[in-house]
Symmetry: C2
C-alpha cells in the first residue's frame, strides 16, 4: 500500500515549520519551532521534536521526511556545504536525521524546495522553463530547466541573490563573499533602506510619519502604506521592483524562461512590485525574449518551503505526490 | 552508407567561413567571404556561393549544411527572431537556404554552435555542466546543462553578453536595449577603451607610445604589448579579466557549472586575462561553488563556429559526428 502522507520540514534561519502532507498537497497537521541562534545540537533536537509532534497528530503512517534547508547541499556527499544562518555546515544532514527519526530523510536547498512546490502544484505548474525567486531577508531561488529542477554540477545552482548587479558595489552581508549582490537591492532590508531614504526626502509622506514613530520601517509596513496609496511608499516598492527587473533582465538573457514566479514576503506588494519589474524587463530585453514571458506571484505563501520539502520526500520515495 | 562529410558555415557580421567537415571534426576544404554591409539578398547569395565552392572542392557527397548565425532563432518557427549585425530578421533561414542549396539545412545561434564544438570535441568534452563564452566585439555564449546544449523556452538562451552588471550603467550599443551590459566591459572595444585610458595615465608606457602612433589601440596590439610585459597593457587586460570574473561570479552562483570555456579573440591574452578572472571568482563565491571549477581557454579558435555549425548538420542528420 502506498504511503498516504509524508512530512515536510522548512528549516529556516529563524523558524522551523513542519507539516504532514498528503499526495494532493493537502497539509494535515503542523508544528513550528523558533530556532534562531540555536546550536547544531539544539537545532537537530528541535527538528526531531517538531517531526515527532506532527507524527503524533495524525501522521503515524508517514513514510518519509523531507527537509528544505537555507544551505547549499553537496549532492555528491549529502553534506551541507554552505549553511547561511544555520549551524549545519559539513553535517551529513539526511543520514544524521534519518538515524534520529528512523525514517528515510531527503534534503535540498529551501529555494529548490519552493521551486519544486510551485512547479509541481503552484504557479509554475506545466512550465518547462521557469525561474522561482523568493524575496525576503535575501533572495532564494530555484531553476526549472527542461521541465526539471536544475542543480548544477554539485547541487549549488539557483543562488540568484548572489548575482552581482553593481560591479564596484558594496560587500554583501552575512557570510557571502560577493560584492554588489542582487539581494542587497532586492530584499526586505533593501526595501526598508530605500523607504527610510524616501521618508527623509518626503517629510510630509505617510512613510515619514511612520518612520518618525520609531526610526524603522519594516517591509510589511512599507508595503501596507504603498497599498494605501502613499506616494513615497509606492516609490520605495517600485524602486525595489525596478531592481528586481534588472536581475530578471540578466536571467532572461541567459536562460530565456517562459515564466518567472516571485514569492516570499516582498510579493505582498503585488503589482506595485511586479509591474515595475516587468517594465524594466520589457524595456531592456529583446521582444523575442520577453513578449511571451510571464512574471507572476507565487501560489504558495509561507508554506511553500514546507510543501516543497514534502515533495522531496515523495520524490525520494519514488512516488510523486502530484501527477506531472 | 552514412554521409562522410557535411558543410559547416559560420556566418558572422563581417565574415563568412564555410568548410567541409568529416565525422572526426577534420576540416577538408574552406571558403570565405566578406559580408559586412550586404543586403539580405546579397548575403544569401554569398552563402550559396561559398557552400558551392566547398562542395566543388572535394565535398560532393556532403549530406547537409549547418549554419551558425549571429542571431536569436525561434526554434518553434525556425525564423530568425533577432539578427545582430545581419539583415536576416524574420527570415525562415533553414527553409530558404535548404531550397536554394537542395540539401537539408540546420541552423542555430553562433554561440550555441561554438559551445557544441567545444563540448563535443574541444575543451568542454565530457563536461555535463559547462559555460562557453566567446569574447570578441561582444560576448557570444552557449550553455551545456545536464550534458546538453540548453536553448530555453524559445531558443534564445545563452545571451551572456546582455547580463547587466552595472545597474545604473550606460545603454548598450548596436540594437540591444539593455544598460550596463556585460559586453560593454568584457569585449574587444572594452579592452581598447581601457587601454586608451591607461595609456593617458602612463605616458611613458609602451601602451602610450603605441597609442601615440595613431590614437587607437586595437585589442590584438594591447594583447601583444601585455605579453611583452608592458605594465599598462598588462593592467588593461587584467581589468577586463576582473570584469569577466564578475560576470562569471553571477553565472557560477546561478548555474554552478564545473567548467567555463573562454574563446574568441580576447583569449589570445591567455593567463593574463584568465587568472584575474579566476581570482575574482575565487574571492567572491563560496568555496563550494569554485573549488572544483575550471576556467580554461577554448580549444577551437576562429574555426569554432564553423565546426559547431557542422555538428548542427551531423546532429540534424541523426548521425552524431563524434561519439559522446
Amino acid at each position: 500500500m502506498p504511503a498516504r502522507r509524508v512530512i515536510g520540514v522548512d528549516l529556516g534561519g529563524t523558524k522551523l515549520l513542519a507539516g504532514a502532507v498528503d499526495p494532493d498537497m493537502g497539509v494535515h497537521s503542523r508544528a513550528a519551532r523558533a530556532v534562531a541562534g540555536l546550536s547544531q545540537r539544539a537545532l537537530l533536537e528541535a527538528a526531531v521534536g517538531a517531526v515527532a509532534e506532527v507524527l503524533d497528530h495524525g501522521a503515524q503512517d508517514a513514510a518519509a521526511v523531507g527537509f528544505g534547508l537555507p544551505a547549499l547541499i553537496d549532492r555528491g556527499t549529502g553534506r551541507v556545504a554552505v549553511g547561511a544562518h544555520t549551524p549545519l555546515a559539513d553535517l551529513a544532514f539526511a543520514d544524521t536525521m534519518g538515524e534520529r527519526l528512523g525514517l528515510p530523510v531527503f534534503v535540498d536547498n529551501d529555494g529548490n524546495a519552493t521551486a519544486l512546490a510551485e512547479h509541481r502544484a503552484g504557479a509554475a505548474r506545466g512550465a518547462s522553463h521557469a525561474l522561482v525567486l523568493t524575496l525576503g531577508t535575501g533572495i532564494g531561488g530555484g531553476l526549472i530547466l527542461g521541465g526539471e529542477l536544475y542543480h548544477g554540477a554539485r547541487g549549488g545552482a539557483g543562488e540568484i541573490g548572489h548575482m552581482e548587479i553593481d560591479l564596484d558595489g558594496e560587500p554583501d552581508v552575512d557570510n557571502c563573499p560577493g560584492r554588489g549582490c542582487a539581494e542587497l537591492f532586492v530584499s526586505g532590508p533593501a526595501l526598508e533602506r530605500e523607504a527610510l531614504r524616501l521618508a527623509a526626502l518626503h517629510p510630509s509622506s505617510a512613510l515619514a510619519r511612520a518612520a518618525g514613530d520609531g526610526g524603522r520601517l519594516a517591509g510589511p509596513l512599507v508595503t501596507e502604506l504603498a497599498h494605501d496609496g502613499d506616494p513615497a511608499a509606492v516609490e520605495a516598492v517600485a524602486l525595489v521592483g525596478r531592481r528586481l527587473g534588472i536581475v530578471l533582465t540578466s536571467l532572461v538573457n541567459v536562460l530565456n524562461p517562459e515564466l518567472v514566479v516571485i514569492g516570499g514576503g516582498l510579493v505582498a506588494a503585488g503589482e506595485l512590485l511586479l509591474e515595475p519589474a516587468r517594465e524594466i524587463v520589457a524595456s531592456r530585453t529583446f521582444p523575442f525574449l520577453h513578449e511571451r514571458l510571464r512574471i507572476v506571484p507565487a501560489r504558495f505563501g509561507i508554506e511553500a518551503g514546507m510543501i516543497g520539502a514534502a515533495l522531496l520526500a515523495w520524490d525520494g520515495l519514488g512516488a510523486t505526490g502530484v501527477s506531472q
